[in-house]
């Protein structure tokens, strides 16, 4: 029989340090697959976040420079402006990209920087132990919202992706989910599109990926994927928020 599915070449052999059932792991594989399929490993530069994915450089077999928490898009801007020939992507969590990194993200998008951001939305601060994130759901209990997130006190789940879709500098803005195999495939397509948009010099690309954090959601892996689909996707509705290639057409 012939092998139809295996480990992508751009993914180093190191086993993941992520928790069982963590979406980061799946997403890492997808990114590596896209890098393989586009054959761009040799001229890709990645920027991992401060977050559970801080060690992403142990997995992606491409050049990578670690970023201070939230500054991924500023570093990527520096990298891309100095090396326009390289494909540059940031990999960031919800806290990284939409809390401390809000300004860097918005302004990079507004400048239409030719970079691609992969934004892993798991509605909590995973690495630091499950504190409230800008994307935490109303009523969701976290270690810093022990009474559940209250709109009046902690504000509403922040949808930075929606905001960025309004910026002329953004060329491709999409929200996907990892809830099912079909959605995993859709996510991979979105990542590829996000990379191609950059290669075509069309503008900033943002792929938000709804991803489970079983550990901090205190759910089993299987339950957490169900929660992803049944609850989180209701608040953060997947879909293409902007695609200038379509608009042009």
């Amino acid at each position: 029989m012939k092998k139809i599915f295996g480990r992508p070449a751009s993914l180093k052999a190191n086993p993941f340090h992520y928790c069982p059932g963590c979406g980061h792991s799946i997403l890492h594989r997808l990114v590596a697959e896209v890098i393989d399929e586009m054959d761009i490993r040799g001229h890709t530069i990645g920027i991992p976040p401060a977050g559970c994915a801080v060690l992403a450089y142990n997995y992606f077999d491409v050049d990578m420079v670690e970023s201070a928490h939230g500054r991924g898009c500023a570093i990527a801007t520096g990298v891309k402006r100095a090396r326009p020939d390289c494909l540059v992507f940031t990999y960031q969590g919800d806290g990284d990209i939409s809390a401390i990194g809000t300004a860097e993200t918005l302004h990079a998008a507004n400048r239409g920087e030719l970079i691609t951001s992969i934004f892993v939305n798991n509605a909590v601060y995973g690495m630091t132990g499950g504190q409230m994130a800008p994307t935490t759901m109303l009523g969701q209990k976290t270690s810093t919202s022990p009474y559940g997130r209250r709109a009046k006190v902690e504000g509403y789940p922040l949808k930075i992706t929606d905001l960025i879709a309004n910026l002329p500098g953004a060329a491709y803005v999409v929200r996907t989910s990892l809830a099912t195999p079909a959605k995993v495939n859709a996510t991979k397509k979105a990542i590829r599109k996000g990379f191609e948009i950059q290669r075509q010099g069309l503008g900033y690309a943002l792929i938000e990926v709804l991803s489970p954090c079983p550990t901090n959601w205190k759910l089993s892996s299987v339950e957490s994927f169900k929660y992803l689909e049944d609850v989180m996707e209701k608040e953060f509705v997947p879909g293409v928020l902007k695609d200038i290639t379509k608009e042009k057409a």
Binding site: K2, K3, I4, F16, C19, P20, I26, P181, S221
Partner: protein, 71 residues
């Protein structure tokens, strides 16, 4: 109906998240009794059933699954 697929599971990588099991349309995967070095009961492949649809591999966070298919 003839087997037309099979998978291999790298048990040392498996963290027993059971995602593969939850998505396998053929119920061709289950957790084994053994304990792997990580301390998990790794998933194991039950022959016969597999259609080689790759759904399990698509969901496997640890990239522990390889899928093979006839033709």
């Amino acid at each position: 109906m003839a087997v037309n697929g099979m998978i291999t599971i790298d048990k040392s990588l498996c963290k027993a998240c059971e995602l593969c099991i939850s998505v396998c349309p053929e119920g061709a995967i289950q957790l084994s009794d053994e304990i792997n070095p990580k301390g998990y009961h790794p998933a194991e492949f039950i022959k016969e059933r597999c259609k080689g649809c790759s759904l399990c591999a698509l969901m496997c966070p640890e990239v522990a699954i390889e899928v093979y298919r006839e033709r």
